[in-house]
């Protein structure tokens, strides 16, 4: 159901806590009380304090921290690592830390009373610095100091009304116990916004979660959001807050491997995209990652290589053996190799730390080698979620990320990564081929969004001179690599030469036959000419003879005529 705009645009007070303002759509309800509940040690006090301190530091809203339990000195120590100058805020009258101690030694409750004394004292504090925000930490301490629950509930209800009337953005922290949200059902009074904090330990690793149970008049994220308490305070990672809103770049950057760039439409990866390189042990994943960061550094861009399996020096040494030297970039401070064991922290902690390091360093290229290292500490479904958020987070920072993924030998790499395949823009699959007593590698660009990439499997050759890709030979169903490829190449050359020689010989035979035939034709033509001559000669002779006969017959008859005339006609 769509919320009316007027209600959706409820005024909000930003907490200044990374992620929390995304989840709440801008912060806590302004001028209203918010309840933060959770068990001991779940970060209630810190969350409340950070909201107050950041509100003062970032938004100039003066705030009061009222502690019913901890002394201001203890509190200052506990929040010392928030990267907030508490003393400075206090001096500038933006922050006031006040302990309201409830320790009165021997106490007896004898009759009707109210908490007017508390109201008066709070009112004076508020007026002193013109507070806009206030924290009451924790409400249970109040309950434990007094016996009459009926009076107390009535007075707390009055307190929350009073805080609202004064227009204070208030945070009340409450212990969680048992089934309900808070031990005394305080959430009934503070209906505007209720945030529940929790932590769980799986595989000896602690992960903190926050969930917005209720936010009256505002839409909000409904999931459990993991958070960490790190060197810069609380960082919450909204699962969907990035919401695919990152800018898309058409710029192409080199993979650091010219042969691979050729396969990728000649240009390399898209800037800001996510690349997955999957393959079994020793198939060249780390090398592709190293080439990528080295190329980034060569362009003058800071890069980070997160190594979850090997130490920084180990990686540097291994890469030197195939002609990749990362040391100059490390020396120049462009490349950081950060090595840590996956089991050292929870998944969420890794995720948040990683994003934080990347953001702070301004890195433009990041390698995570390998992402599968987390399988030892978490369930696959959690890892998929985490990777989704990690890639999303890096993308929103405009960082180009290359992640490697270890696949089991034998398993189809295209199958095993099906969960995250939709998250990556470019997917390169490396394979090992074992045959004829040797092992060789192949590379295939399985997909690459937004470009015409090669669909050819190439052999990946790695030696002291570096990496190169060579055309692969397929013999029927088998792909030939390494020595088998070379043997096949030789065989093919022999075959070719043989065919070449045969052709030449055949050509010669044909030419000979041609000449023979030509000669025969010449001879026959000569014969023909002779025959024609003979025929002509014969014809002429016959003619002559025939003429001669006619002549002679004429002559004979003329003689006979002349003799007959003389005797008869005179």
């Amino acid at each position: 159901m769509e919320l009316p705009a007027a209600i959706t645009n409820l005024p909000k007070a930003p907490t200044g806590i990374r992620g929390l303002d995304d989840i709440t759509g801008g912060g806590l309800p302004r001028g209203r009380p918010t309840l933060i509940c959770g068990g001991p040690g779940c970060g209630k006090t810190l969350l409340a304090f950070e909201t107050l301190a950041r509100g003062a530091a970032l938004y100039g809203e003066p705030g009061i921290f009222v502690s019913f339990e901890e002394s201001p000195a203890d509190l200052r120590i506990n929040v010392a690592n928030l990267a907030i100058d508490v003393a400075d805020l206090e001096q500038r009258g933006l922050l006031l830390i006040e302990q309201i101690s409830l320790d009165q030694g021997e106490v007896a409750e004898v009759g009707e009373y109210d908490l007017e004394g508390l109201f008066i004292r709070l009112g004076l504090l508020i007026d002193r610095i013109g507070a806009q925000r206030i924290v009451l930490d924790t409400i249970e301490t109040l309950f434990s100091a007094f016996g009459n629950q009926n009076i107390l509930r009535g007075e707390l209800q009055r307190l929350f009304r009073w805080l609202r009337q004064r227009g204070l953005t208030a945070i009340i922290t409450a212990e969680r116990s048992g089934q309900g949200l808070s031990r005394f059902g305080i959430e009934e009074f503070v209906a505007d916004c209720v945030i529940l904090l929790d932590y769980r330990i799986t595989e000896h690793v602690l992960t903190r979660y926050a969930r917005i149970v209720k936010y009256r008049g505002s839409s909000h994220g409904v999931n459990e959001y993991p958070f960490t308490i790190g060197p810069r305070g609380i960082t919450m990672l909204p699962i969907t807050s990035f919401g695919l809103r990152y800018p898309v770049s058409a710029e192409r950057i080199s993979s650091g491997f010219p042969d691979l760039d050729q396969l990728l439409d000649g240009g390399g990866y898209y800037r800001g995209s996510t690349i997955l390189v999957s393959g079994p042990t020793g198939s060249g994943k780390t090398s592709l990652g190293a080439l990528f960061v080295a190329a980034a550094c060569a362009r003058g861009e800071p890069a980070i290589f997160f190594a979850f399996e090997e130490s920084a020096d180990q990686i540097a040494r291994n890469l030197r053996s195939i002609g990749i030297d990362l040391q100059p970039w490390r020396d120049r401070g462009l490349l950081q190799i950060i090595s840590s064991r996956p089991s050292l922290a929870g998944l969420e902690t890794h995720l948040i730390t990683l994003l934080e390091v990347v953001e702070q360093s301004g890195a433009r290229a990041v390698v995570i080698d390998p992402i599968t290292g987390f399988h030892t500490i978490s369930r696959p479904v959690d890892i998929t979620t985490m990777l989704f958020r990690l890639f999303d987070g890096l993308k929103s920072l405009g960082v180009t990320t290359l992640a490697t993924s270890l696949t089991n030998a034998g398993a189809d790499p295209a199958q095993s990564e099906v969960n995250i395949s939709s998250l990556v823009d470019t997917w390169i699959v490396l394979r090992n081929h074992e045959a004829n007593g040797e092992r060789n590698r192949s590379l295939l660009v399985l997909k690459s969004r937004g470009m015409r990439h090669s669909n050819q499997v190439r052999e990946l050759v790695m030696d002291a001179n570096g990496l190169r890709l060579v055309d692969i030979y397929a013999a029927g169903e088998t792909v030939l690599v390494g020595a088998a490829r070379i043997a096949e190449q030789e065989r093919l050359r022999h075959e070719y030469e043989l065919r070449e020689r045969e052709t030449i010989q055949r050509q010669r035979r044909y030419a000979l036959q041609q000449r023979l035939l030509s000669l025969q034709i010449e001879a026959l033509q000569a014969e023909l000419a002779a025959l024609t001559d003979e025929m002509n000669a014969d014809a002429a002779l016959s003619e002559a003879r025939a003429q001669a006969q006619i002549q002679s017959r004429l002559a004979t008859s003329r003689y006979r005529d002349s003799t007959q005339e003389g005797s008869d006609g005179r």
Partner: protein, 101 residues
Amino acid sequence: MDITNQPVVPLLRLYVAGATSRSTRAITTVRRLCERYMPGRYRLEVIDVYQQPDRAREDHIIATPTLLVVEPGPPTAFIGELRSSDWPRVAAALNILTDDD
């Protein structure tokens, strides 16, 4: 001089919030109580939290009315309006034996 023989003049502080009927009732009750147990031999300070919030802070007062028996020690706080049935408990905090028991 033996310190145990030195009589301590009891010191009581009554915290109230403003001139409400509850405050007036509390003040009257405490005065009556003092006159009953220690006629003329006590010190009673009535403190309005509105007027002297710092005193309330020092004594960790947030509920009103609160009667603090400061001397003789140890200090004891009585929170709420005293009913007559509560008087012996205050007397006990003042180290006064009563014939009410």
